[in-house]
Point group: C2
Chain length 209, copies 2
């Protein structure tokens, strides 16, 4: 398999974590979102939305969207339960992640780390505030004593880990959320789990005018 | 089944469309997001994220997240294909929707229709611009002549329809996107399809200061 990815993308790291946990060999092809490589004709051919990750299957099929990649690879494995209700809980948290964590908190983190938050401060504050609200929701969801989001460890935990573990980069506080802290540790202790998220590259950084 | 919903919520309409297409009887319980009813202890007990829709199953289980509701109800029916790749395409577009349409375009639409866009204009413009970009991505995805997003009509089409059909409310243009226009008509022509999205209620509107 080929993973079109970037070492500083949390969405891409989700796919890398599961591929390694499933012990599936894969080739990495870097598509540099910070220089516009995701918005070329070549990459639009892989994903009409011009984003990464995209997973290239051995038969040539291309799968965009981190959540769809996790679901495709997870199907039939211990990482995506067969039980209908447990499976629905997995998807519940994965949709929550794309809507409330990725769109708000991950975008706020990018604005902060890249230095762009000073240029659109109202946008940054709005995304950060909504990201904080999403973290509170996640903490409530974990506060009933469960170990993982949907029963056993699953692709939902991988999806949520990617941008929750680094929430403080954006300026959100994880300290008050005790249930999240314990859950992050349990995720990191699963077999073959690897957090290899790299910092934003130098060329992604905006200098103050 | 019980659907905790609101007649002016596109996310809730997704569940209503599928329930009707599956001919499943359901009771509607309005939870007024515009007066804070979704952020009460009672509703946090249904959904730690304090949002609607939430589907109450006959055995008392509660399912939040429109995408998870669609997947749960769709499983085993013609609306969620069993073929692994077709199923993955369904989830690809549903994750795209939550991240790129709902979080950007639907929020911009709410700001516009409620009159709040004047209070946070930078936020409104940012969400609208990113929503326009998502519409262009959807149009590219539909431009290969396909009738529906993932082969046959599926829960992906329901999920995308909800906030794409009313994109112009936000100030986004559907005119240039011919593939989207044809697809919207095909979705509306499916058996038992009903668009019953209501306008924002009077009490949701902000008056200029």
């Amino acid at each position: 398999m080929i993973l079109y990815d970037h070492p500083a993308s949390g969405n891409c790291m989700k796919a890398r974590i599961l591929l390694r946990q499933l012990e599936i060999p894969f080739e990495r092809v870097t598509v540099d979102l910070f220089t516009g490589e995701t918005r070329t004709l070549a990459h639009f051919g892989r994903n009409p939305d011009g984003r990464i990750p995209v997973l290239g299957l051995d038969d040539g099929q291309l799968i965009p969207e981190s959540g769809a990649i996790l679901a495709h690879l997870g199907e039939g494995t211990e990482y995506l339960p067969a039980d209908p209700l447990a499976r629905t809980r997995v998807f519940q948290w994965m949709f929550f992640e794309q809507n409330r964590i990725e769109a708000e908190l991950a975008y706020a983190r990018f604005l902060k780390l890249s230095g762009r938050f000073d240029q659109i401060p109202e946008v940054f504050e709005n995304r950060l505030e909504r990201g904080r609200d999403a973290l509170a929701a996640l903490d409530r969801g974990l506060s009933d004593g469960r170990d993982f989001l949907a029963g056993d460890y699953s692709i939902a935990d991988i999806a949520l880990y990617a941008y929750v573990h680094c929430a403080e980069d954006a300026g959100a506080e994880l300290g008050p959320h005790e249930a999240i802290a314990g859950w992050l540790s349990r995720v990191e202790a699963t077999p073959r789990f690897e957090n290899d998220l790299e910092p934003l590259p130098e060329h992604a950084l905006q200098r103050p005018v």
